[in-house]
Symmetry: C2
Subunit: 270 residues, 2 copies
C-alpha cells in the first residue's frame, strides 16, 4: 500500500483506538508495509497530531511494543472552545425559575459534547481509569464522550431500579442543596469490584449527588480517581460537600429578577 | 505543508465533520496547499475511505462546491459487527425475570455504541434528518452516536418534567405491551416546528413507546423520516403498533425456564 493511502487508514484507526497499545507488526500487516515504513508513518503522524492540538503518540518499546494515541487537547484549542461556551451560557434567555440554567440545546450537540469529552479525557488520560460513572440522565452523553476518548466502558447509576437490569445495590443519600433524602441504585453486574473510575456529571451545586455516587461506589470497592463536572454553581461554594473535582465552567451571581448571570472558566483552566 | 502531513490532518477533519459541505478553498487555506493538490488528496482519501469500508466523499460542484463525507458502513464491516453482537446477546446468562435481556454491559461500550450509530447513520444519511429524537434513558447513547455521524443535534423526550427544562409539551399514551397509560414530555424549546427527525431507541416490544413519541412529535409538526431500534422482540410481532422501522437484531423464542434465547439479524440486513 502507498504511504498516502496508509496514512489515511492509519489516522482513522489510531484515532478510533485511543489509549490502546497498537503494535507495529499489527499495523505492518494491516497496511501491508515494512515495519520501518510504518515507523516513519507514525513519526509523521505524531508530529501532525500535536500540530493539530489533539494529542500525541506514545511509543512503547520492546518486543510487545508499539504506539498508544494519547488524546491531549492543546491549550489553544481548549481556550477557544471554553471561551465560546462561556459566552453562549451567559445568554440571559437561559435563566429558568429557581436559578437553573437551560443547557439542553448545548448538551444536545454531538460536536460540543465530543469536545467536552476530549477536555476531560485530556485531564484524566494518565490516571489509569477503567470505567466512567455517571448518573441518569443529563450526564450520560458527557460520560460517553469522555469514555470514548479513554477507551473504557460507561456505568450508569439510576435514581430508580429498573426491571431490565437484574439485582442492584442501592444507597440513600442527602441531597446537598435541598436536604432531601434520595435513593441511588447501581446494577451489581455493571461494575467489577475494585475498579478505578472517574465520575462525570453535567451540573454540581452543593455536590450531594456526586457525594452519593462516591458512597455507592464504595460498595463496589471502587477507587474514584477523578471527578469532572461541566458546570459548577459558584454561589453554593460554602455548602459544598465535594472538594476534589474538575469543572469546565463556573456559574455565579445568578440574578433571576434582573436576568443576569456570569459564566467563567472552571478550575480545569487554573 | 507536505502531502503526508496534510492527509493526516484532513482525514481527522473530514471524519469529524460528516455530511457537512467542506469547501476546497477552506481546506486549501487550512492546510496551506494549492486547490489542485487538495483535490488530489481528496481523491486519494475517497478511495481509501471506501477501501476501509467506512464511507465515501461526495463531490459538490460549482463555486460553492467542495466535498461531503458520507458515512457508509460496508456490508462486510456491518455483517462482521452484527454477527458478533448476535452471538454475545444469545448468552443465556443475559436472561432476566420477565423475559428481559441484560444489555447494559454492551450498551456501556463506547466502541460498540459508535458502530451501532454508524450502522443507523449509513441507513439514514440520505434522508435529510435535522435531529435525532430518543427517550430517556437507554436510548440516549445510541441517539448521540447516530447524531454524531449525521452531524445533527439530539433531542431527549422524558417520562417526567424536570425543573431545569422550562415549559414543556406533554402527552399521554398507552404502553403497547402492558396497556398502562403513561406520560411523555418534551421541552418546548428543544425542537423547532416542522423539523425532519429520526427516532432511535434501544428496545422495541409492541412499539407503544415509539408510537407515543410519534404522537408527541406531531405536536411539534415534526416529520418522522426514520425509526431505528437496536433490538426488537419478535415474539410481540402480532401486537405491534409501529410498522415502518429499522432494527439491528431480532430477539425471539425467549424461554426463561430453559434458559434459552435466539438472536438474529434485524430487518436492516434484509
Amino acid at each position: 500500500m502507498k504511504r498516502s493511502d496508509r496514512l489515511i487508514g492509519m489516522t482513522n484507526y489510531v484515532l478510533e483506538h485511543p489509549l490502546q497499545l497498537i503494535s507495529l507488526p499489527f499495523l505492518a500487516e494491516k497496511y501491508q508495509a515494512a515495519k520501518s515504513s510504518i515507523s516513519e508513518d507514525l513519526t509523521i503522524m505524531n508530529k501532525m497530531l500535536q500540530q493539530e492540538g489533539i494529542g500525541y503518540l506514545e511509543s512503547v518499546a520492546g518486543a510487545a511494543g508499539g504506539v498508544k494515541y494519547v488524546p491531549q487537547y492543546s491549550k489553544e484549542n481548549s481556550d477557544q472552545f471554553i471561551n465560546q461556551l462561556c459566552d453562549r451560557l451567559e445568554d440571559p434567555n437561559r435563566l429558568l425559575p429557581g436559578g437553573y440554567l437551560f443547557m439542553s440545546d448545548i448538551l444536545g450537540e454531538p460536536d460540543t459534547i465530543r469536545q467536552i469529552g476530549r477536555l476531560f479525557a485530556s485531564e484524566f488520560a494518565s490516571l489509569g481509569i477503567e470505567a466512567v460513572v455517571t448518573v441518569a440522565t443529563k450526564g450520560i452523553p458527557l460520560a460517553y464522550a469522555v469514555a470514548s476518548f479513554l477507551n473504557v466502558p460507561v456505568v450508569i447509576v439510576r435514581r430508580d431500579p429498573k426491571i431490565t437490569e437484574g439485582s442492584t445495590v442501592s444507597i440513600n443519600y442527602v441531597s446537598g442543596s435541598s436536604r432531601k433524602i434520595q435513593t441511588m441504585v447501581l446494577t451489581k453486574r455493571s461494575l467489577k469490584q475494585g475498579a478505578r473510575v472517574c465520575i462525570i456529571d453535567d451540573f454540581m451545586k452543593a455536590g450531594g449527588t456526586i457525594d452519593g455516587m462516591k458512597s455507592l461506589l464504595k460498595e463496589f470497592d471502587a477507587q474514584v480517581a477523578g471527578i469532572g463536572v461541566l458546570a459548577e454553581a459558584e454561589d453554593e461554594e460554602d455548602e459544598r460537600v465535594v472538594n476534589d473535582y474538575t469543572s469546565l465552567v463556573k456559574i455565579s451571581n445568578v440574578d433571576v429578577r434582573n436576568q443576569q448571570i456570569e459564566v467563567h472558566k472552571g478550575n480545569l483552566f487554573k
